[in-house]
């Protein structure tokens, strides 16, 4: 059994009187692809934000990454420690090219300089199958899928231990989702642990080795994806609603 790389213990996030994440506990094991599902407003993205500290950390509980507490750490330090994330909405630096965007992750995240940065940039973009002809385009001009690839490449350039993806399939076509599926398998195969939040259940079931379902900010169930989606509580809270 691999060791846990990321552990949440009793994580809670409140906004005034609203509790968005309630006492959430789970562990992500080294090298696995761990999926998180849940209906809209279930607290998936809030939990993601709590883990990375962007834009806020948790109100209570404990988060450990590679054994070290990170729930009070600064966001840029969390990335430098090896925990990287993407965003649900297209995040971009519109004034920078694709290469420049990825290079920032290498320079500030991994402390790379000069030729080492340039080599790491090409390696990350190659891994994400980002077309060479588009690498000097400004990111504002890229397609939705291009921006998703770029977000992943700019995370991978620093050689993270874990990659956290917040609804990466949103806004993508079926062929693009299939390409993303292949990319995640490939990234995982080089030793990067993946934590993925996704609405597109097909992608989650296809890539996840374990699945956790959140509902109303709390953990509903966790386990083998195929078993989890048959759980009556999940059907009622999430899949049943979608099916109806």
């Amino acid at each position: 059994m691999p060791d846990p790389i990321l552990t949440l213990s009793g994580v809670t996030k409140t906004f005034g009187g609203l509790t968005a994440v309630k006492d959430v506990s789970f562990s992500v094991m080294q090298g696995e692809i761990f999926g998180v599902a849940g209906p809209n407003g279930s607290g998936k993205s809030t939990m993601f934000n709590c883990i990375t500290g962007i834009p806020f950390g948790p109100t209570g509980g404990e988060i450990r990454f590679k054994g070290q507490r990170i729930d009070k750490a600064r966001p840029h330090d969390i990335f430098r420690a090896g925990l990287s994330r993407t965003f649900q909405k297209d995040a971009e630096f519109p004034d920078l090219t694709a290469r420049e965007t990825v290079a920032l992750g290498g320079h500030y995240g991994a402390g790379l300089r000069g030729q080492h940065t340039r080599d790491a940039v090409e390696e990350a973009l190659d891994l994400c199958q980002f077309e060479p002809a588009r690498r000097d385009m400004q990111t504002a001009d890229l397609s939705v899928y291009g921006k998703k690839q770029l977000m992943i490449a700019s995370a991978l350039v620093a050689k993270p231990d874990i990659l956290m993806l917040d609804e990466p399939a949103s806004g993508l076509t079926r062929p693009e989702i299939a390409a993303l599926d292949d990319l995640l398998i490939k990234v995982n195969a080089i030793g990067v642990t993946i934590l993925i939040i996704e609405h597109v259940l097909g992608l989650l079931l296809s890539v996840s080795q374990r699945l956790l379902v959140l509902n109303n900010g709390a953990v509903l169930t966790e386990g083998d994806p195929k078993t989890v989606i048959r759980d009556e509580r999940v059907v009622e809270a999430y899949i049943g609603g979608a099916a109806a």
Partner: protein
């Protein structure tokens, strides 16, 4: 910065370097010198405002701190103007560091309020410490620059012209290098998407502190030069008029472009000087500058450098 833009900047520098051989009257040279001073303040403001996206409305206070540093050092302590001018850069940088600490974690309107209050605080300190600063009357009869027996005020300000141009050229070159460096790119990243920038290992607060300090150094130096050149330090340097004029230069020129504010500074200084000589336009000229700023921002939000970029068929990217 594209090759075309680099060639344009080099050509402009060469052209400005030969101007004194054709423009020999003291007044026109004086207008050029003032334009170079404003241009230096504007391009450095562009670093924090345009590239860094920090709504720092206390930038002109760094200029004023440079002015009073040079004035106090030369009058109260009898320090050489050659030392007093760069000392303005040091005190401005220290002031920037102090104001950067609270500003680094603020957003939007709160940055404006704190930095604006900082400028007013500097003004009140100058006014209240009359024994040292001369109070509302300021300090006058500052020593002029000399090299050996040569006085810079000779030859229709010939040497002052080149010194002012050199300060501007150094500023522009350093800022262009910064803009192309990973630090400059991180500033644009922090400006456009601070959460994404933090998620890629960039410390947003640290970059904001650094950009404020970096933008203050040459602003303070040119403030010191301004005091020594005019031989006066007046509390007006902390006033709203200079701040409005310089921010107009940044916005009309093109925020984030570095070259644009320098071009706008030259154009606006000459335009306002020309209008000052027209009866009835003495005060109205500032209204015209404000209207010009609104028109340019409506027609080309990227400023005049954006218009030039389109004409030259290249992007606006620094």
């Amino acid at each position: 910065m594209t090759r075309t833009q680099r060639l344009f900047a080099l050509a402009a520098l060469v052209l400005l370097a030969i101007v004194p051989f054709f423009v020999t009257d003291s007044y026109t040279r004086h207008v050029f010198i003032v334009a170079f001073i404003y241009a230096t303040v504007a391009v450095n403001w562009d670093l924090s405002l345009g590239l860094g996206g920090l709504f720092n409305f206390g930038h002109v206070a760094f200029f004023g701190i440079g002015v009073y540093t040079a004035a106090i050092l030369t009058t109260a302590l009898d320090v050489s103007p050659w030392i007093a001018i760069p000392a303005g850069g040091i005190t401005a940088a220290i002031a920037a560091l102090i104001i950067a600490l609270p500003v680094a974690k603020l957003q939007g309107i709160y940055v404006v309020l704190v930095t604006f209050a900082f400028g007013q605080l500097c003004l009140q300190i100058v006014l209240s410490q009359g024994d040292l600063t001369g109070g509302a009357e300021g300090l006058v009869r500052l020593p002029y620059l000399t090299i050996g027996d040569y006085k810079f005020i000779r030859d229709f300000k010939f040497a002052y012209y080149y010194l002012a141009l050199a300060i501007l050229a150094v500023s522009v070159i350093v800022l262009l290098l910064i803009a192309q460096s990973p630090f400059g790119k991180s500033l644009r990243a922090v400006r456009d998407n601070p959460d994404y920038a933090a998620s890629r290992g960039i410390s947003v607060a640290r970059q904001r502190v650094l950009v404020l300090v970096a933008s203050s150094v040459m602003t303070g130096v040119v403030g010191g030069f301004y005091a020594i050149y005019l031989r006066v330090a007046s509390p007006e340097v902390f006033g709203f008029s200079i701040a409005t004029l310089v921010v107009s230069m940044v916005l009309i020129g093109g925020a984030g472009s570095i070259i644009g504010p320098a071009i706008a500074a030259l154009a606006l200084t000459f335009a306002t000087e020309a209008m000052a000589g027209v009866r009835g336009m003495e005060e109205a000229r500032f209204i015209i500058v404000a209207v010009a700023m609104i028109v340019v921002l409506q027609v080309a939000p990227g400023g005049v450098v954006d218009i030039f970029g389109r004409l030259l068929g290249s992007g606006r990217k620094t």
